[in-house]
Assembly symmetry: C2
Homo-oligomer: 305 residues x 2
């Protein structure tokens, strides 16, 4: 799947992933009204609004970007109806040829980690049959447990040719609270990055590893260091746009081949209808998201000019 991701990035000339993180606050009133009329102000009504919103946005952008990144928390908060629309969104994006990076940030140990890996990337056995439960292409994973938490995912990545992005340096202001603490003079994120490199060399695709890393756009100097520490890891870069990361800061996240990083934007794309620049009505939210994607691709590719 890392090969597919790299190929799609090249083909579409877009190291960009769209975060499908819908909230009730972001979804335009007209979409919510219609869904609530049919299902009431219920979890089912919310799920229906999310589905309409997601589908329109995916239809508007699937030819432009290689991948989408649904954030499962945004669905989980709507309970079972939310999980159903999460799965429906994953399936629809895959139908449209998009690589689906499930931002699940799961992490546990042993058989529990194996269960998460089965849930999101692998197969779950039931008697003599097996099923892909959520069946995304990539998942984000938390490293706090060490290799015991990673190995079950790495095993599934090998058999299923799927991938993970391990949290190394997150984009939030307090990420330094633990991640930047110095261990023998080097910050924890660097130690984690070294492990990502080590683990990843066991799971190589053609030019990049199935095991990638998350490094926030908000810390470009750390991005520069981590790029060197993990040359074979694809870096998923959150924090561009709404969180303050600028395209000009992103060059260090890429390798000299112009590859090695994929930049996420969520609110900047899915809430683009609010951006006065596009002069569009809320009902034209899908068109606004398409224009925002085109602008983002131009912005990111501008750093290579």
């Amino acid at each position: 799947m890392i090969n597919k991701l790299v190929n799609e990035i090249k083909k579409k000339n877009a190291p960009v992933v769209v975060g499908l993180d819908p909230t009730m606050a972001i979804i335009p009133e007209c979409v919510k009204e219609k869904a609530f009329k049919e299902h009431g102000e219920t979890l089912e009504g919310a799920a229906e609004a999310i589905w309409t919103f997601n589908k329109s946005i995916v239809d508007a952008i699937y030819d432009l970007v290689p991948a989408v990144k649904p954030q499962i928390a945004m669905y989980e908060q709507f309970g079972i109806p939310g999980m159903i629309v999460f799965k429906k969104t994953v399936d629809y994006c895959k139908e449209k040829g998009l690589v689906v990076i499930a931002d699940v940030k799961r992490g546990d140990i042993g058989s529990t980690s194996a269960a998460y890996a089965a849930a999101h990337l692998g197969r779950t056995e039931v008697g003599s049959k097996s099923y892909g439960a959520f069946d995304e292409d990539f998942a984000t994973v938390n490293p706090y447990f060490g290799i015991d938490g990673i190995k079950p995912f790495a095993d599934v990545c090998k058999t299923e040719k799927k991938g993970i992005f391990i949290l190394v340096k997150t984009s939030n202001p307090s990420s330094g609270e633990f991640q930047d603490r110095l261990i023998d003079g080097r910050p924890l994120y660097e130690i984690v990055g070294e492990k990502v490199d080590e683990w990843g060399r066991e799971c190589m695709g053609d030019s990049y590893s199935y095991i990638g890393a998350v490094v926030g756009a908000t810390y470009p100097e750390m991005g520069r260091v981590l790029r060197r520490v993990m040359p074979k890891a694809y870096i998923l870069v959150p924090g561009y746009g709404a969180q303050g990361g600028k395209a000009a800061d992103l060059l260090p996240y890429f390798n000299e081949d112009g590859l090695g990083a994929i930049v996420n934007s969520s609110r900047g794309i899915i809430a683009a209808y609010r951006n006065e620049k596009y002069g569009l009505a809320p009902k034209d939210y899908a068109e606004a998201s398409r224009r925002a994607v085109l602008d983002m691709i131009e912005d990111i590719n501008g750093i290579f000019a």
Copy 2:
């Protein structure tokens, strides 16, 4: 909810939580056969088998223990039917008066962390209404993001009177890979423990904080240190039994009041029918789990003798 947990522990004289982590391998054939006959070897069939199994075990043990800890990964791997039976299990345990500790190990930042907190402990707003999506009593949370990841949970704990257990030192063999690394001469888990203490003092119940910690039974010396570092944090202790933790090692996790820790056992209880000691048939798995709980309570309470 921390007050309720403490009261139930005292009332039942049982600092014990039963991990409801069913797998297809653990559920007896007779239970699976019946479920598969009705639903086929499908995710729905697996979910039905899990439900029958969980319900029988809960019915057999609810009067003995204060709490249960369903591990969500074990349900998530069965997709939507798995999530439905997770929710059904949570609701049933609450009906039976049990405190439900959702072992979800979620962790993210800002609005995403808030969405997880809403999903598991709080309320999700839909128009003018609000709903408890999964609505457990406690959740386990990963600290890797620092306070940005914790604060949204702490806020919900305060408004909803619920609680969290933050991963400090996990029970697995490789937990030291990052957690034990020395920072200014002190291990990372101790630094995290100090933060748990600091964050927890803002969210106090009567005698303990809404914010507790996870410290594995497999590291009693670290348990001793962490008990001192976080005197007001309830410690959720995994790793007893199947993972090798012994009751004799658990004394340092408790405070002098005999409180402050709750010890989990999953396989040791729910797969107790395999234990020759009980001499029971697989169909009597619920009775076996009851006897295993009684033995565990005696074993744990023995350390105070």
